[in-house]
Symmetry: C2
Subunit: 336 residues, 2 copies
Amino acid sequence: MSAIADVARLAGVAKATASRALSGRGYVSEETRRKVVDAATLIGYVASPNAASLVTGRTKSIGVIIPFISRWFFSEVLESLERSLLAEGYDMTLYNLPAHSAERERVFDFFLARKRFDGVISVGVELSDAEVGLLHRLGRPLVGIGGEIPGVHTIAIDDTAAARLATEHLLSLGHTDIRHIGGDQVDQMDFAVHTKRLTGFNMAMSAAGLSADGCFAPCAFTVPGGYGAGLALFGDPHRRPTAVFAASDEIAFGLIVAARELGILIPSELSVIGIDGHPYAEMFRLTTIEQHPRNQARMAVESLLRALEQPSAPVTPGLTRAPTNLVMRSSTSAPR
Amino acid sequence: MSAIADVARLAGVAKATASRALSGRGYVSEETRRKVVDAATLIGYVASPNAASLVTGRTKSIGVIIPFISRWFFSEVLESLERSLLAEGYDMTLYNLPAHSAERERVFDFFLARKRFDGVISVGVELSDAEVGLLHRLGRPLVGIGGEIPGVHTIAIDDTAAARLATEHLLSLGHTDIRHIGGDQVDQMDFAVHTKRLTGFNMAMSAAGLSADGCFAPCAFTVPGGYGAGLALFGDPHRRPTAVFAASDEIAFGLIVAARELGILIPSELSVIGIDGHPYAEMFRLTTIEQHPRNQARMAVESLLRALEQPSAPVTPGLTRAPTNLVMRSSTSAPR
DNA sequence: TCCAGATATGGAAACGGTTGCATAAGGAAC
DNA sequence: GTTCCTTATGCAACCGTTTCCATATCTGGA
């Protein structure tokens, strides 16, 4: 194809001048600039980012590590990351790494270690010290979403507090027989999200003077997971709780579908609360704690780009808490 | 960082030899190879793909254009694309382009036109002749998923046939009062997917000697979209059909939720069939036409890589039909 | 013994940009 | 009329690989 040398020749200037004219860096007279631009458009010149990266060391592309694509939180984050990065002129290269996959090491050694990215965003993946160290040594800034990583700036909601808030909402309505349906061990999710939400639940219960023993039931972190748990939990009318705190909206939807199939009225016979702010929540009239993943993604991009602009001042490691808020709908009420 | 020159120096060989030893191309004695590899691991050498691309012209990375990330079909395709490409050593760079977005031109001119990708996969995006021409001129192979693009190899199901099959299933059960709930104009989906499915419905109806006039109702191509359409459609018991063909499983779920809220029994009072093979279908006991997006993605990658390996023989333009199959569950039965 | 081919290695030229340094002209300040 | 700074441009080095070409050794077959 046509290289910048061709453009320079056609415009009657040196390669250096053509480069400056096209990139806008350095001194170029307006007249020369126009000549160069005209020549470039005439022969359909497009710059080679590879060649530029080679000398500048910057690739204008960001690597993203994410364990799921189809789960709501992650797809929302992904869409928002892509938009924000594209708007800033960055490419986004995606690595879909299931939590403890065998490919993880390969991705780090083979893909990330190469100098193809200016920075990395890790979504819901708890990086090891070795992995963080690798990126750090390469001088590549790293920002996390979803949980705390030592030495890395991360954006995350306070899972424990959110779970506690959800449970307290049920308690404040007068419920005392509350169950928590959350992720199980099989569903590997990093940052101990499941555990933190369970902890928040336990804290709220004991603060209210209630025992949380036997109040937790695990299930797959999906709608069918919640559905299965709901059928099992609500099957026996005598052991049915008056309220359920689901660790995610998707679980909550499954619980609601199961409850409806069993003829249980919501909220009069059963209150349900979730966490997420999923777009289907309104349709199911689900009370939930919203966590705004798109904002979390924007915050991560902002932090990463700031670190890229000022390599001197490394990203302030530490946790930025993303806000959450309770949205009350009609899936919760006082017990009968 | 350390370059291949450092490795060569440490191993006591020339850069050329070090390159051959590490890439495995050309003649290198076993002894020398080991020396080079040892030196490389010793100083933690990682190759720069940028520098390599510059001379080889191959980037080992593929660009993917996709209009949605969170919709089921697209997230499935995406996950499968990523796996297949990663397994073959390719990076995947993602461009999330809503159908008629303003950014589309910018992405093509600014991102895709650059020589950053060996090839492009377009998922559910109907590329214009100009866009196809641009990539073709750059010598970058292109494979499509979701519908026919002139001059490009594409993988797609037969939307018309699938819709017809779904409708025929309802007809064969004895239904005559059938409605089709599908995507609306606002929901911009390329390749006229909505129209094709409507056409399949109409063909089946008229083949059965039934009029399809007024049997179509549009809605957003989502669960809440189907829910809203269901509430509207099933609200009046006297105008209620005995069967509904939903253009997607997600719409079907919404319809089912709406029907259940209204106390309508499925399938005795209402049969519902969808298209997709969504993982929630089993939970809703939904009869559906499965379309296996992951396989479609695998086929696309295979086709693209074949084109990359043999630049001489260009990809056979044309359409490869991805198979679909009817899965019967208990959301459909004969009318009462 | 000589020669063709396979094997092994090095030197140097690419690939396509950016940028440091040198040069030169035009003002402004003294 | 110097001196200095700003503006404008060119030359050449450089980024980190791959690969072409040349050279040299070692086979084995004629």
